[in-house]
């Protein structure tokens, strides 16, 4: 078991956003989490990564047997949790390559591996760059600064390739991408998939799931997972729209 979320409740500024999430992810699996805007998908991703604005009011999250919620964000990353941000922040003055070398060596250290020197890092990085077809020029620029929307998302997937996480959480990585960029991003994820790692793909649209085929599909609404199924569920959702799921919920029980 890679990830086990039990009855997770989260609020921000006193308002409950997640109202009891249950989700188990095993090695080798791809889970898609879908839902309308405001259903709590991105909150779930942020809470998993350890963003401090949220208050966990109940439940637990186990990651590779450890209490994930007790760890600071960097420890979570070193343990092998990777969040591909929906809006990757621009950090002027920090070069992408230097940033990645620092991050990779921290993670390697945590795993008991020798740090890579500049030369080894460079060739390792080059190899990973091919995966997402990223331009060398991009790694010389300050982190995400002036990147287009597509470049930022590609950069996230490139970082995921480099840092080799056990669990990749993709927060609406497909949003704002044209079809070519979408293919590259999805292709990257497919190449990274092994029997030892897992992915949680958060998306609003079914479109991405044409390229990344999920083992499970979960539908989130109002802070809960209200329906789970296989990839057919996503197709059905695409056909019938979110109203199909939510209308049952709106009628009083």
């Amino acid at each position: 078991m890679i990830l086990e979320i039990k009855n997770l409740k989260v609020s921000i500024d006193g308002k409950e956003i997640l109202k009891g999430i249950n989700l188990s992810v095993n090695a080798g699996e791809v889970h898609a989490v879908m839902g309308p805007n405001g259903s709590g998908k991105s909150t779930l991703a942020s809470v998993l990564a350890g963003k401090e604005d949220y208050t966990v009011t109940g439940g637990s999250v186990e990651f590779l047997g450890k209490d994930l919620l007790a760890l600071p964000p960097e420890e979570r990353a070193r343990e092998g949790l990777f969040l591909a941000f929906q809006y990757p922040v621009e950090i002027p003055g920090v070069s992408t390559a230097n940033f990645l070398k620092t991050a990779l060596n921290e993670i390697r250290k945590h795993r008991g591996m020798e740090p890579l020197d500049a030369m080894d890092f460079l060739s390792f990085m080059k190899e990973k760059m091919k995966l997402v077809n990223i331009d060398t020029e991009l790694t010389k620029r300050p982190l995400n600064e002036g990147f287009s929307g597509g470049e930022k998302k590609k950069n996230e997937v490139f970082q995921m390739a480099l840092l080799e996480p056990r669990l990749g959480v993709l927060d609406e990585t497909d949003s704002g991408l044209d079809i070519d960029a979408l293919r590259v991003v999805a292709g990257g994820v497919n190449k990274l998939k092994t029997k030892d790692n897992a992915f949680v793909v958060i998306t609003h649209y079914q479109r991405l799931l044409d390229y990344i085929v999920p083992d499970y599909v979960h539908i989130m609404y109002d802070g809960r997972i209200i329906k789970s199924g296989n990839k057919d569920l996503a197709l059905e959702l695409e056909k019938k729209g979110y109203d199909w799921i939510t209308k049952d919920l709106k009628t009083p029980a």
């Binding site: 350890g50 960097e74 990353a77 969040l83 950090i91 940033f99 921290e106």
Partner: protein, 434 residues
């Protein structure tokens, strides 16, 4: 260390300070300057220009001139360690305010270039200096004129390009309170080119008050880099005035890098006398827990079609205080001016203080001018992003502080000096978090 007197009169002290300039040529003007200082004393905080910087600490010490200070072997090795590679730089060293021929090594210079000590120029060619012992614009400047005993004299004739940068190091070693008054004169002729690194440094235990004046003039189409570092002990005071005059088409670029010191005040005043001048002012101040750093800059657009660009950044730790006061003046006929100014501060602690006062005074309409100032902290989103990639919190903070400061360091156009400064920055950052 000498006894700290309860109320030693600073005016009295300096009135009876020895005159150590080996020349009688400037007696008159020096006397006048001393009288000016005696009538005004040190600037007080009721003066708007000194509103945020209190110099009264300077008056609490009993000073001697640096002549008496002994140079130990340790001091000598500390100074030697601060010198740049002889192959790459011309080096000029002043110890406790006095020129050290032994430690200096001006290599062969192109025709007509003079690099020397003011004291020896005053002794041998006083006429060269006449213009620079003028009636002072303020009391600190007057005090410098009255008591200077040395400083850098650099003169580059028309059309000459000095290929190697010049390092002028002012190193203070005395653990007894010393008062030092470097007067530097830098003259760049028409179409000349020269790069200078001016450094104020001291031993960790040094106690000193350095009151420096640097007069800079750039001839037509001259090009100059003037980089300054100030790395003084926690018990040192530095007040520095740099006065720059630029003629038509000249290009000037300055950098002031301050780390440490008890109190540092930098005045940088640039007058764009000729048209089509360019001037760049960069500053980086790292203010430790007990420090006070004040940068006052004034760029006077007195002629049309000039361009000025200013970026000052600061990181303030502990109980440190940073002051920035930047003024852009665009005179009535200085049309087609473009002037930009930016001051950015990061406050690391709850006890630190930042006072920023950017000013625009515009009297011409066809101009592009802007200034901006920010005071804040590291961006939480950025910090989270770095941590979410496995970088520890301290390391992430350092990385972001480095990135913040590097936009100033990156402007340095002398590669070896840029690398040196990047290293100093790296070394100094952890010190700010104490």
């Amino acid at each position: 260390m000498q006894a700290v007197l309860a109320h030693p009169d600073i005016k009295e002290q300096f009135a009876s300070f020895p005159d150590l300039l080996p020349s009688d040529a400037f007696k008159g003007v020096r006397k006048q300057a001393m009288n000016r200082f005696l009538s005004e004393g040190l600037p007080a905080t009721r003066d708007e220009e000194w509103k945020y910087t209190d110099l009264s600490g300077i008056a609490e010490l009993r000073y001697t001139s640096g002549r008496a200070a002994e140079l130990t072997e340790l001091n000598r090795s500390q100074i030697t360690a601060s010198l740049f590679d002889e192959q790459e730089y011309h080096r000029l060293v002043f110890v406790n305010g006095f020129f050290s021929g032994e430690l200096s090594s001006p290599a062969a210079l192109p025709g007509g270039v003079i690099v020397s000590d003011i004291a020896s120029v005053a002794e041998k060619h006083p006429a060269l200096l006449e213009k620079y012992f003028y009636s002072s614009p303020n009391s600190l400047h007057a005090l410098n004129t009255a008591l200077t005993a040395g400083g850098m004299f650099l003169s580059v004739p028309d059309g000459v390009s000095v290929s190697k940068p010049i390092q002028a190091l002012f190193f203070n070693t005395s653990p007894d309170a010393t008062a030092i008054f470097p007067k530097n004169i830098i003259l760049a002729g028409n179409k000349s080119r020269v790069h200078i690194v001016q450094q104020y440094a001291s031993t960790e235990k040094n106690i000193s008050f350095t009151n420096a004046v640097t007069d800079v003039s750039l001839g037509k189409n001259a090009e100059m880099l003037l980089y300054k570092t100030e790395a003084l002990s926690p018990a040192s005071f530095l007040t520095d005035s740099c006065i720059v005059m630029q003629q038509h088409g000249s290009r000037f670029s300055s950098l002031v890098f301050t780390m440490g010191g008890q109190l540092v005040r930098n005045n940088l005043g640039i007058t764009l006398e000729g048209e089509q001048c360019e001037t760049a002012m960069h500053g980086l101040y790292l203010v430790p827990g007990t420090g006070h750093t004040d940068n006052h800059t004034f760029v006077d657009h007195a002629s049309p079609s000039c361009h000025s660009n200013e970026l000052y950044k600061g990181i303030i730790g502990g109980k440190g205080t940073a002051v920035f006061n930047g003024k852009i003046m665009v005179r009535k006929d200085a049309q087609k001016t473009s002037a930009f100014q930016s001051n950015k501060n990061i406050l690391l602690s709850d006890e630190g203080t930042v006072n920023s006062k950017p000013q625009l005074e515009i009297f011409a309409d066809d101009v592009k001018c802007s200034h901006g100032a920010t005071i804040g902290q590291l961006d939480e989103e950025e910090l989270f992003y770095l941590r979410a990639r496995g970088i520890g919190e301290d390391a992430a903070r350092e990385m972001l502080l480095n990135a913040f400061a590097s936009s100033v360091v990156d402007t340095i156009q002398i590669a070896s000096f840029r690398e040196y400064m990047a290293g100093r920055l790296q070394e100094y950052l952890p010190f700010l978090r104490k």
